[in-house]
Symmetry: C2
Subunit: 388 residues, 2 copies
């Protein structure tokens, strides 16, 4: 760990995509949400942040570099994470006087995403999860993922869910200090390992409104949002947890699609209205609906969800890979992203759908620039690959 | 009135565009709404249905022709209107034994719209209002517009608001038989005559879901809709009536835009989701926002509203015609619809906005096929121009 007085630790951390959405804070300083949320942690084979944290007495200031570019580390959110981690390290040092005084050294944090930042994927969640996890490992804190989630939440709300693998809930919590607003594992990835995700990355378009600003505009101005936060989501949280426990894809799919639409409805009900979905997103929805309608028993085999942007994330089970991802490959076979093992073995016959809506297909072809084929995955992984 | 035993009457009836939206029925047979609504009646100089109703002992069946094509008249809604009007006529005949027995003759109804049906404007409202008004005149019923609105409502809900001019409310009503679910005048057109409307007609695209089917899907599946109907709209109805009484355009504009968005939010929250607005609609919203933001005191001078389709209707006052309609003319000057007196005198300098968002302008140019420049107007007008 220590060479020439330099101490370091590295980690990979995953992206997560919510199926019950986080939108709205009851405390903007502590990132306390107005409602709980549930997400699926995606495989780090496809999407991950790699972070190395180094402490050295020779450093004169804390620094953070992402994908080769220096980042501002002075923001209150990053500072809150560093402060809490240093306090925990200071306690360790008090109990073990021979331990290196890392809490008093400056930190150098180097991060890399293995996916294009421009893709508009929720990179801040993986980024803060990796930062907190790497520093916790460097400090040898032995803190539980749930306790670390409380720290990561202050960096970026949804980051708390990236500290665990599989199916993860972030409970709203009741305490004013946020002590009970933490993530917990609903089920590990191994409980329901055949969950797949196809991400349709929409062509670059300037984001309508940042999610940080947008969610507070919704809280302040939507006539529907309070009803969502207090009535709609709490019921869905319980049902979604049960659906995951039972591996009930039909219920998982219906709740995911409804909650995505409900969240975007509250964005539209904001003054001025916020639009994250565009005509391309709508075409993706229509295609998922067509795939589901073509099922003989009318049970959904695909579920769309949209974060604060036009990208579609489509969940499905391995057994339906040809029907779901294969249908999209038959339309979008020319874009990048089908060249991994899973994508190459896919038939692109448009399996599930008798006749593809040619208008929707045209809109998708124009609007989607790449796809990412991935699956449910584990939580952060320690690594000995260090970034310089 | 009677020549060779043929009795006839003709009327013009206006289109109305709601600013507090009707969406959802509590009784689908009687067209009783889940919430009240308020609309502006538009000028018949620009948009109107012209209808002639004829009764003759020689007719062997009721018939309806619209724009030269025979229409099915057997639907329950049309039949309900005819039945109620005939019952009223039968009472007249009982009281005046020498009166022609029109209630026992078949009817021939001929209608023409002076606007393209394909434009996706609310033609059924004007159509049913004209049908009811023309037959009531033919029957010499002397029934009040409010009583006729109760009949027209059964043909098409929003038609009840086209039986009056100016600013019109349709009260939800409480009675199970619909007897109190009628339209009333909030203020006549003469109270606030300088209200203008610019309609941006979107290029033909198949309508997502018919409004008749769509609204009941929303009632059945949206988690937000009940809150809209029971909490949000009743408060807005009161505030909108007051805004009209006070001629308070700022309040009128904010409520109109919020309610349009709130209605479309409930459509999006429907399962499966209903999208009436598209990327063109969003560009129109952004342009209205830019016009309003450019006002020195930040008070809105333009208000958008969208019915069950992508067309934008933009309300503004005459004093701001150059700033609002002129800005749109500077972008959309090449499409048809600027060639009336009002449109020709408009400067197309983009008056209000310092620099026009080029992306939004491009989307508008591609997506808008014509404009209609109009204003608040009066209720149905009797005419001696008869359609053959």
């Amino acid at each position: 760990m220590a060479e020439n007085g330099v101490h370091r630790a590295s980690t990979f951390a995953p992206v997560n995509i919510a199926v019950i959405k986080y939108w709205g804070k009851r405390d903007t300083k502590l990132n306390l949400p107005t409602n709980g949320s549930i997400s699926v942690t995606l495989s780090q084979d496809d999407l991950r942040t790699h972070t190395t944290a180094t402490a050295s007495p020779s450093y004169t200031e804390d620094s953070l570099e992402l994908n080769g570019s220096p980042q501002d580390i002075s923001g209150a959110r990053t500072q809150a994470c560093l402060r809490e981690l240093r306090e925990l390290r200071a306690k360790v040092e008090m109990g073990a006087p021979q331990a290196a005084k890392l809490s008093q050294m400056k930190l150098k944090i180097v991060s890399q995403n293995n996916f294009p930042t421009a893709a508009g994927l929720a990179s801040s969640a993986a980024g803060f999860a990796a930062l907190v996890r790497a520093i916790a490992d460097l400090y040898q804190l032995g803190t539980s993922p749930t306790d670390l989630s409380r720290i990561a939440r202050q960096g970026s709300g949804s980051a708390c869910r990236s500290l665990m693998g599989g199916y993860v809930a972030w409970q709203k919590g009741e305490e004013a200090d946020g002590s009970d607003s933490v993530a917990y594992e609903v089920s590990p990835a191994s409980h329901w390992p055949d969950m797949r995700a196809l991400i349709l990355v929409a062509s670059a378009e300037k984001k309508d409104v940042s999610s940080t600003a947008g969610m507070q505009q919704t809280v302040a101005s939507s006539a529907l949002f309070e009803h969502r936060a207090s009535e709609v989501v709490p019921k869905r949280m319980k049902r979604m947890e049960q659906a995951i426990h039972r591996r009930d894809f039909e219920e998982f799919a219906i709740l995911s699609m409804k909650d995505s639409n409900n969240f975007h409805a509250c964005c539209l009900d904001t003054q001025p209205p916020i639009f994250y979905m565009n005509d391309t997103s709508r075409a993706a929805i229509r295609m998922v609906e067509a795939i589901n309608s073509a099922q003989p028993d009318d049970k959904p085999i695909a579920a769309y969800t949209f974060d604060a942007g036009p990208n579609a994330v489509i969940y499905y089970l391995t057994e339906n890979e040809d029907k779901v991802a294969g249908t999209f490959k038959s339309i979008l076979g020319d874009v990048t992203g089908w060249d991994n093992k899973r994508g190459q073995s896919l038939s692109a016959t448009g399996g599930a759908v008798e006749s593809i809506d040619s208008v929707a297909a045209e809109v998708l072809k124009k609007g989607i620039s790449r796809v990412i084929l991935t699956s449910v995955g584990d939580g952060p992984r320690k690594t000995e690959e260090h970034l310089a």
